[in-house]
Amino acid sequence: MEIAEELAKHQKAISVAEFFEKNRQILGFDSAPRALITTVKEAVDNSLDACEESDILPDIFVQIKRRGEGFRVVVEDNGPGIVGSEVPRVFAKLLYGSRFHALKQSRGQQGIGISAGVLYSQLTTGRPTAVTTKIGPTHSAGRWELMINTATNEPEVLKTEETDWDRPHGTRVEMEMEGSYVRSRRQSIYGYLKNVAIVNPHARITLVEPDGNVEVFERATDQMPRPSYEIKPHPLGMELGGLIKMLRYTEKKKLKGFLQGTFSSVGAIISSEICERAELDPEMAPQDLTHAEATRLLAAFKGMRLKSPPTDCLSPIGEELIRAGLEKEYRVDFVATATRPVAVFSGNPFQVEVGLAYGGELKADGKVDVLRFANRVPLLYQQGGCAITHAIENVSWKSYSLSQPGGGVPTGSAAIIVHIASTNIPFTSESKDAVADVPEIVAEVELGLKEVGRKLRRYLSKKSALSERKEKEEIIRKLLPRISKKLAELLERDEPDINPVVAKIMGNLLVRRSVVSENGKTAVTLLVANYGDAVRAFKLHETVSVEAGSVEPPARVIPLGDGYDHLWKVSLRPGEKQKIRYTVPSEGVSFSEPVVEGVPSELVSGAKAVG
């Protein structure tokens, strides 16, 4: 026998289930803590997707119980339930699902998630997964015990029965598995659900932890997210193999009709232009295209100026709900949000939303928290390899008042949240931990970050102007008077007049009177100085018990009952000073404090301010 024939004996097909049995890390089951998180994540994603499709406000219950060496994971929802005949394949057949072929924004896509959890459960404990589901109040609930036949990737139903369930509709999954429960880190079930709650403010999620502790992530809105729609593929997103497959299996009879009916952004005019460019007959049957002709057709796609794909297929969270979600889970001083317009990469529409929370309970030391989301699903692992992180690192945060020692993720008491919504999120791997570095996505994320960065800078500069004013108040009210008192005590002199110094520090208008007596006459000088950075125009009143003489510049004099009000109109540019002089007899004259009319009192030193 030839060697090749010998070898051929050993070659056989591998089932998908067997493949994943040996490569569990691909699906996110590579460590004990992570296996639990991934299972909960897949079940919760399914529940949220199902509720949204049925317009039901999600109410999700998650319980983790210790069971011997391992754990029992229960996830229950109030979703639409699952038709009995579908249950075994939904849970116990890999790559079975409703969303893989649909171009639509949804959490799950491949139909691997929950069945991978079932597989992991049976691999580590040998026990079946129990599913209870009910599709409406008039139906009875069904209960299944399921396993996956790993050789054939077909479900095995161990037991099925009708049962009573007090929910009107919903689904409950219970499985046992090896794992380890951690709480403290962000990469934990608690951390995951907290992040889910931030971007799904319409959901209520209850978590019962192994020690019996109950955490409720309450809903922040009763408003369902905008439903996402299924769209046709965009020509720019096509690859040759996909195109050939679509050509072969289409029901359309003519190439022209195929192009119009299959793709988005393609109408009658565009479709005939494509055919012209590809030098193909619009009337020919799509099934008859040769490989070379299909290649020309694809090339024609790329050369066209096409409208962007429709964007209403996406369901962004919205700035208001991002804010509500952040404020619900974090106590912070400030939140900025930004929603970018819909953009396109390789024919796939996508939209970026960014939120930035600042201050409050967020720790000031260390890197800022980065919360990454794709289609409302938190991404917990491989932060360093993610396009979102790279975009954050590309931004120069110093210009937005966050320090960024040595580049990279900035530091400070802030949290950055980035959500990417798309019909097709380009992940770096099947475990969906990180978004691939697609230039269009990185650029959009950067623009969103800069937008919230600008808002943060504005907020902080306003805040620092306020605190600067506060600091100055402390100096003039608390510190300067004490310094002058202490110095006067030491030198055994009168306390110095601190008004000129106060005026300079505060940028105020200063009025200072100095008096010199000589030859039975008293010469008075009023110094008026503007230390502020704006022009000050005001009236200065000097009330003296007698009428003043040699007044320079001249004043308007208004006799009062017990004295005379001398009035000057003064206008001073920033930094300008003026001296006013007059004389009075040395005996029997009394002054009152000078009055400034027309400058707010906190901007005046050494005089009384009146409106």
Binding site: E471, E474, I475, K478, L479, L480, R482, I483, S484, K486, L487, A488, E489, L490, L491, R493, P496, D497, I498, P500, V501, K504, I505
Partner: protein
């Protein structure tokens, strides 16, 4: 030491400067030389390192500056009305505690009050002894053929630093200027970083055999230690060598004795012994004597690199030694000589190094 009257006058002068600034409408400030590595320069005349022209200004424009000026006024008041008037004194630590009653002028930590005392020294060109402020730490100990007399509160004592003292040696008071040198039979002074090596030299009778005065530095030396070394060098005309571990931190000990410390460069004239020579452990000794070593840590490497930009180490000798050590990436302790026998350091290493340096 200055007369109390002079001290009081200078402190009041400081208060008057601030008072006048208020009167003239100048926002009050105090200007001090900035006490950083970049602002020390070599003074040709005194052969020591002193502060340059860069100033740091403490203005009441900021809360920090205003608090600092307020604390200065409180401290000046304490020094005049408590210390000078009643001929009392406080330790640096006591000053920190006294400030408990100063309300917003209270010191946050002792380092702050220590610094402010140094600031006052600079602003008045006086010494903290003039303010009757004492350090916490003990002075160094001296062992060797030297007779001194010390003015104590209980009268004058005359002490021979070998015959009248125990194994620990003569402990110098914090105010070294109360000590007078009476007589000596010494040829040179060895200042030693560690207590272990100090004791080794005494046990091996190095002081007797070589007529050496041994001064224990106790790590980074106190002011009094540096002052007594300077006086031994200048008044008795004795050469001084410094014997430390072979690592970057020990070179700084040498630098503070021979060139002055960055923090107290204003006292360089009073504390620094420019003639002091570095004995070892040199990086070249690590190679020549094949000493047991430790690997340099990241901090060590950083300290060595920082010394390469320190003006005090900008000589060919130090550049060569530091570059060599960076290449070796190793350091050695003084006590590493014990690996060659307890007598090796006094029989072989010190005599070899000292004759190399022309001391014996």
């Amino acid at each position: 030491m200055k007369e109390a009257a002079v001290t009081k006058e200078r402190l009041l002068g400081l208060a008057e400067t601030l008072y006048d600034q208020f009167e003239k409408g100048i926002v009050p400030y105090l200007a001090l030389p900035s006490r950083t590595k970049r602002n020390i320069e070599y003074d040709q005349e005194g052969e020591v390192w002193v502060y340059g022209d860069q100033e740091s200004v403490r203005s009441v424009k900021t809360v920090r500056g205003a608090k600092s000026v307020l604390k200065t006024s409180y401290l000046v008041e304490l020094l005049i009305n408590e210390h000078l008037k009643n001929n009392r004194g406080s330790t640096l630590r006591e000053i920190y505690y006294i400030s408990e009653n100063w309300d917003v002028a209270k010191f946050g930590e002792q380092a702050e009050s220590d610094r402010l005392v140094e600031d006052l020294e600079i602003l008045t060109s006086l010494l903290r002894e003039d303010f009757h402020v004492r350090p916490e730490e003990d002075g160094a100990t001296v062992f060797g053929p030297l007779t001194i007399s010390e003015k104590t509160r209980r009268g004058e004592r005359t002490i021979h630093c070998q015959e009248d003292v125990g194994e620990a040696g003569y402990q110098i008071p914090f105010n070294v200027d109360n000590v007078e040198f009476k007589d000596h039979d010494a040829k040179f002074v060895v200042a030693i970083e560690t207590g272990g090596m100090h004791a080794r030299l005494i046990e091996n009778g190095f002081d007797q055999e070589h007529q050496a005065i041994l001064v224990h530095l106790k790590g980074q030396p106190a002011r009094s230690t540096r002052r007594i070394i300077k006086r031994l060098n200048e008044e008795l005309n004795l050469p001084v060598v410094i014997f430390t571990d072979g690592d970057p931190w020990s070179y700084r000990i040498y630098a503070s004795v021979a060139y002055g410390a960055i923090k107290s460069a204003h006292l360089s004239d009073y504390l620094v012994t420019p003639a002091a020579q570095f004995l070892g452990v040199q990086p070249t000794d690590i190679v020549n004597y094949d000493l047991s070593t430790d690997k340099l840590t990241d901090q060590d490497l950083q300290a060595l690199r920082s010394e390469l930009t320190d003006p005090r180490f900008a000589t060919d000798y130090w550049k060569e030694q530091i570059q060599l050590q960076l290449k070796l990436s190793k350091k050695a302790e003084q006590q590493a000589f014990a690996g060659k026998g307890l007598d090796f350091v006094t029989r072989v290493y010190l005599p070899e190094r000292l004759s190399e340096m022309g001391m014996i």
